[in-house]
Amino acid sequence: MKMSRDHIILSINGRQHEIRGEHAFMNLSEYLRYQAGLAGTKIVCAEGDCGACSVLVAKTSDPIRDQPVKFKSINSCIQPVFNLDGCIVVTVEALASAKELSAVQQSMVDQQGAQCGYCTPGICISLSYLKEQTGGTAEEIIPSKAKNFLTGNLCRCTGYEPIIKAACGLVDVKESSLSKRFLTASQVSTLKGATQTDVYFGFNRPGLEPIEVWIPSSKESLFGMLGKGRLISGATDLGVQRNKGRLGESRFISLQKIAELKQAVVTNGLLRIGAGLTWDQVQDFLQDDFSDFADSINLFASPQIKHIGTLAGNIINASPIADGVPFLLVNEAELLLLGSGGKERRVPISDFYQGYKKIGMASDEILWAVLLPKNKLKQRVYKVSQRKDLDIATINLAIAYELKEGVFSHLKLAFGGVAETSLRMTSIESLALGRKPDALFVADCAKAIDLALRPLSDVRGSSKYRMLLAKNLIQKWVVEIDLESQQNVNEANV
């Protein structure tokens, strides 16, 4: 191991903090509120769903080299401090300059965007992110686009209408950006230096095993530790599990500082998605080749989650309702696993899931990258949930298909939410080849669904509802194909 440090270094609102022991193990929100005296950041749900805890974070270790270090919003309530070594954090308290409110804050005041005020700090952070991210032109800030920046913030008072107006009030506002104020070259280089060092810390707990945390700064350091603790990446799920008292482990390895995990490269038609790529980076990377799936990421993840959660986490979490897995199944992705010492292994994702939350990976292995072959297939991604945005699916469905002269020449189809793992529907795939997408095909699919699916009843929908949805989504897809072909005929006629 390289030279090692026993504490976390991060900058909060322009002030450097050295954080040790149990404070480094806290969620950032708790550290801010109860240690740093910054109580503006609120904790409501402690599961990354409501956004009251939102803060801006700039990761100086982000190795996508041609891009400057930028602020992104995250949920501080599910983000352990130790995962942010070398980061620059800005909270609601620092948005205003000494003299005046920021444009975002002033617009919120002017539009009566705050009522009870409890969601307001998070809303101000999300709107500040909007402001950092866009040029602030009238085309960029229209209600439909502004809403996309606010899907991760719940408000129970306003009905959102005044908040959307506050966002639209940011058009053409001239103001020095937060990046200019807080991401100065010296600040960035100081903290970037911190990311080059390994960190190890531990502390004792009364009545429980001591906590130990490793934060390797290189691939080599990481390989020496595999198997010694729970790997933790974006923490968008583990952070929740911990808050709910469901995380039994006491040893953790943070992956936040491993540059190699951030690689996104295309070689010979194979997209290699590094396991450390966050959802927003995956979205950018897949936009050209898999736009249907890339677009759907906005529905299942808020900006705050997209900025830190990963596709790899979605895979390893092994939820039967994982949003990314059906898509990977139908596009026959492979997983690149590395063992201790760096031994490589490639596993088709269709072989990876062995039962409910059971995956084919040894305890000393790590998911290193997802390998996704480009293809020319048509893609469809469907998701049904209780609420359209930022909700766990009741059911999801991914389809990759090709029609030649009106009949299926290729079909891969996978459901989520209908069995103990995401489920490739090989029975439908094999019956489809050579057939037209017509009513008879829909009826045969329905029969295959009756035979293959045994969904549970739970808080997100009854078993009966899921069965009905599975069949209806197939039907919807076939009607869409029909409509598309009619449109093609019409266009041809024109």
Binding site: L101, C116, C155, G159, P162, G207, V384, I392
Partner: protein
């Protein structure tokens, strides 16, 4: 800044900078303890044993307390039937049974896991229907009977009979329940609580500790949302923290997580309605018989009053000539349901709006026409409870909204759309709100206020009102500014505290600004009267010196020619002026009080439930909404495309705040009827207890087009401020989202009428589409 001015919320700047302080933002004292509780894991049962010996051995744990440690366990606003800690009988899943106090979060959570609660499970009653069958009622209301239902029904050409189930709703205030209690000298306690009812919290705490009321002060800076959920149910958390403070002599803090909060606190009452109505060929209702069953949960709480308000609002905005309204509140083994914006009113009005949609489907007529035909108008103005609707803007609202929402041409477009589109189905519907303003418990319609002027020309105002985002402090500030003719920036509305304002009513029933504002105005006017008298003497040339001072006469002479405006006092008769703060200095030097306390009560209220006579409401707030929804035919998912709202708010004090109340209430109503589903397992455990599983509306769920407008048809009478209450009335307009779904499903042209429950989740809608499709193909 006065009447009609949209000045910013008085906490706007501290909100956006993160400086606003809530209970859990208070800095922790060195000796402060964190307080948590453990709960019963059955919905009904007998406690056999609680073993906390292991928990006490966890380092950092200070004490574990149970029911026997309380001087007085039972509390309740109407009936004191709810224990703070279950003593022997458990009545709902996750009912608290023991309190733990510890020095750290880790110690607290570890200790909670080490407390063993043995309970002998008993059969639980988990549904309204089961409770009705077993006649398990918390309260049964005196029925409202008007006209002759039986006779009218016998001759009615058309009849409908059926039932309607409405789900509950979690408040989902962003700030979870919280209290910090400091024990101070001589057995006094200072309670900081996130409560809408500081007085009740003070009383519950004092009784729980076995001390007199004067030893407890309850202080409330602000709430991060309340919506009724902190009217009665904030008190238990304050009492639990206070008990720890009493037993240990240390500061004690109890802050619930969202999961804990949702599991143990009550929610909007689910209702099960049974109905029979008769109507003529045009759709005019001739007879109606309603049975309203509310799910009160385990304990009484505010349920009898909520049930009554449902009965008072089951007519909605519509005239029912012959009607019988019966109602009962069921006891079930679930958390004790409580106040929630609308207080039963939405559940009542829901029924009539659903039936009007049904009549339209049945007669194949337009539902807006059916509503216009049935609405209160002219001499068709007598409610089922005998109060007349005197100042009625409904006809004006209906006709204006029909035009402004472009209803008729959109109706035609929707008919075309539904006949063609293979994927989507659209529906359009108007519903109305006629919300009665006043607490139906007369004694609550009182408020008091303390106004202190300072010699620099600024003022501090204290009332019993609790600021929870609704802008009551801003409105009170505007009212007092108007009395003194000074900028509202010169006035601070202070922290609510029972030591300044005692015996207050909860900030609820949309009445916060009405009664507290009126009391503040009354106090301010009394000071202004003294100041005008002083100005009169000063302008007349009287002086004061070491021997003589100004003596105010007690005459009631009208001093309206003294105008308080723009920081000056102006006598219009003599055209003399003095700067306001200069006059205040003279007043103080002459020993004239610059402070006043005033009490206000709403006059003319009184209702006898036994005889159904009197005036339960001071006035009504009216409004209507037209909503268009779109449904996915394959998945049942719905989306609100457009909503147009028109309300009569009288002489609005602050149109921007009222607009925010309206959009906020509407979207909350939208959530109630389309999205928010409380899901329990068969043991009665709530499984949707956080935003991952309980979905309140997100920014994307708001109407894509959202038009809100107000008219000023009638001022509010008798509360002195002219503006109409706005907190709850627009909540009922969310019902238009559900009736629009019903309207859309009628577009399937089944042989059966759409008949489904609320909330109309994707699952409910999809099954209903299936049912209607199968019926139509028969």
């Amino acid at each position: 800044m006065k009447h009609g001015h949209s000045s910013a919320h008085d906490s706007a700047v501290s909100h956006v900078t993160g400086q606003s302080q809530y209970v859990d933002d208070r800095q922790m004292l060195k000796n402060e303890l964190l307080v948590g509780y453990v709960t019963a894991k059955v919905a009904c049962g007998k406690i056999q044993n609680i073993d906390f010996s292991k928990a006490l051995k966890v380092p950092g744990v200070v004490c574990v307390l149970t029911a026997s440690d309380l001087a007085h366990n039972n509390w309740g606003t109407i009936v004191q039937d709810q224990p703070l800690l279950a003593q022997s009988q458990v009545e709902y899943f996750d009912e608290p049974v023991a309190i733990v106090a510890a020095e750290s979060e880790q110690a607290l959570s570890l200790a909670k896991k080490m407390i063993l609660v043995e309970i002998q499970a008993l059969p639980a009653v988990l549904t309204i229907q089961e409770a009705v069958n077993k006649k398990m009622f918390l309260s049964v209301a005196e029925p409202f009977i008007k006209g002759d239902f039986n006779q009218a029904m016998a001759v009615a050409p058309h009849k409908l009979k059926g039932e309607l189930s409405l789900g509950g709703q979690e408040h989902f205030y962003m700030e979870n329940q919280a209290a910090v209690v400091y024990s101070s000298e001589n057995g006094h306690f200072e309670v900081h609580s996130s409560t809408q009812h500081p007085t009740e919290t003070q009383h519950v705490v004092a009784k729980a500790l076995g001390i007199e009321f004067h030893k407890v002060t309850c202080i409330v800076k602000r709430l991060g949302g309340g919506f009724g959920g902190k009217e009665s149910q904030a008190a238990p958390m304050a009492a639990m923290a206070a008990l720890v403070a009493q037993k240990t002599g240390r500061a004690a803090r109890m802050v619930l997580t969202k999961d804990e909060d949702m599991k143990i606190t009550g929610k909007r009452h689910p209702f099960w309605h049974r109905y029979e109505i008769g109507f003529d060929e045009n759709g005019k209702i001739q007879a109606a018989r309603f049975e309203l069953y509310a799910d009160g949960g385990a304990y009484t709480d505010l349920s009898p009053s909520i049930l009554e308000r449902a009965m008072f609002h089951v007519d909605g905005a519509y005239y029912l000539p012959n009607v019988e309204i019966y109602a009962a509140c069921c006891k079930t083994n679930t958390y004790s349901n409580t106040a929630f914006r609308g207080f039963g009113g939405p559940q009542g009005t829901f029924l009539i709006e659903s039936l009007l949609e049904d009549i339209a489907v049945f007669l194949k007529k337009d539902s807006f026409d059916i509503r216009t035909l049935n609405s209160y108008q002219g001499d068709r103005n007598l409610t089922p409870y005998g109060q007349k609707i005197e100042q009625n803007p409904l006809p004006e609202i209906f006709s204006k909204l029909r035009k402004s929402s472009d209803y008729d041409s959109r109706r035609q477009e929707i008919l075309k759309f539904n006949s063609k589109d293979k994927f989507k189905l659209r529906g359009l519907s108007m519903t109305a709100t006629k919300f009665g303003i006043a607490f139906t418990a007369r004694f609550l319609n009182q408020g008091n206020a303390l106004v202190n002027l300072h010699v620099d020309g600024t003022a501090q105002v204290s009332t019993g009102a609790v600021e929870m985002g609704q802008g009551v402090n801003t409105k009170i500030c505007q009212l007092v500014a108007e009395v003194f003719g000074i900028d509202s920036k010169k006035i601070s509305v202070m922290t609510t505290s029972t030591e300044k304002n005692a015996n207050t009513s909860p900030t609820a029933a949309s009445s916060g600004a009405d009664i507290n504002g009126a009391a503040a105005v009354k106090a301010a006017q009394a000071i202004r009267q003294r100041l005008a008298r002083l100005a009169e003497m000063y302008f007349a040339g009287q002086t004061f010196d070491a021997l003589n001072e100004y003596q105010l006469s007690q005459s009631a002479e009208n001093l309206s020619h003294f105008i308080f405006k723009e920081g000056q006092v102006h006598c219009t008769r003599t055209n003399q002026k003095i700067i306001f703060s200069d006059l205040l200095k003279k007043a103080h030097l002459n020993r004239i009080s610059l402070s006043e306390y005033a009490h206000f009560k709403t006059e003319g209220l009184g209702f006898d439930k036994k005889t159904i006579t009197g005036t339960p409401f001071k006035y009504f707030t009216f409004g209507a909404a037209v909503t268009e929804v779109e449904i996915d035919r394959f998945t049942g998912e719905s989306k609100v495309l457009r909503t147009d709202i028109l309300m009569d708010l009288g002489r609005s004090l602050n149109p921007a705040i009222d607009r925010g109340q309206t959009t906020g209430a509407f979207v909350q109503g939208l959530g109630w009827v389309l999205l928010e589903k409380l899901y329990h397992n068969t043991s009665g455990e709530l499984l949707s207890h956080s935003p991952t599983t309980y979905k309140i509306p997100n920014v994307q769920d708001t109407p894509r087009i959202f038009n809100v407008d107000f008219i000023e048809a009638y001022k509010a009478e008798g509360v002195g401020i002219g503006a109409k209450a706005v907190g709850e009335p627009p909540f009922l307009l969310g019902i238009s989202c559900w009736t629009a779904v019903k309207n859309a499903l009628a577009g399937l042209e089944s042989s059966r009428r759409p008949d489904f429950s609320s909330p109309a989740t994707g699952e409910v809608i999809l099954f209903e589409i299936e049912r209607l499709k199968s019926e139509s193909s028969l």
